[in-house]
Symmetry: C2
Subunit: 129 residues, 2 copies
DNA sequence: CCATTAGTTCTTTAAATCGGAACTAATGAA
DNA sequence: TTCATTAGTTCCGATTTAAAGAACTAATGG
């Protein structure tokens, strides 16, 4: 089984990073990998935000993150261990990853706050047109 | 002629911002608008990096940037004046825009440096397969 | 050798993107 | 007013890209 492909840091592009992280499922995965700094296999993510995600889709998501240079995946027997490459990327694009992960955290908090407020409020009916 | 739609800052999402800026043409446009802090009409961008871009495509790009909350567009007679909303976004997601624009600048410099090095080097023929 | 587990690849279907052509709205000239 | 021009949008067909079920592969433990 041949090892997974990874671009070298100097081949990493801002566009690829932004594209990879512009998908809600992928940021969730990436944020998780960064948080526990490192290592999580694919199947740990079979559900993201209470929604089941087919593993073919998940496999593609990991591939996109890998090819954008955001994570490194090493096969260990039957499973792959993923680690974030954020120090490498920080070296080339200082502040980029931090800015994105931070923004994502803020947004998650905002959404949680809004949902909570909405559940305390009487059900708002659809606005008539 | 009705005014253009703009999301309020709290409705802006990280995903939409990253998606908007994951396109090379759109980052180029956005970086330009941010640089001259503000105002440029659509047709100033009919060519990006020596390549002509059809105006229907350009119109869509501006729409994506607008709806992501990155720029504000005001109609002045027949043309639209675009300004960046980066202070607003900075308020909600500190460091996000700076990180991205900065990374983009670094990448542009790297590409220029590489191209220059390549032009000084003898033409490298395609690797045989 | 077989069963199981973790991921990948293939294939079909659905959605997003690109760009040409036609259209609209504002402005200026005759 | 009417006509031409300019700036942008909208519509639509063609191409790209993404999603997910099914079939497949590779490693591991009986």
């Amino acid at each position: 089984m041949r090892p997974l492909f990874h671009p070298s840091v100097e081949d990493v592009t801002v566009e690829a990073i932004l594209h990879a992280l512009s998908d809600p499922v992928r940021v969730a995965i990436y944020a998780d990998i960064v948080a526990q700094d490192c290592s999580l296999n694919c199947s740990n993510f079979l559900t993201v935000s209470e929604k089941a995600i087919p593993k073919s889709t998940l496999s593609q998501h990991f591939k996109v993150l890998r090819e954008a240079g955001l994570i490194r995946g090493e096969r260990h027997g039957v499973e792959v261990q993923n680690t974030s490459r954020c120090t490498e990327i920080e070296g080339r694009f200082p502040g980029l990853i931090r800015g994105i992960v931070n923004a994502h955290t803020i947004q998650l908090a905002d959404v949680a706050r809004r949902d909570k407020a909405a559940s305390r409020r009487p059900a708002k009916r659809a606005r008539k047109k």
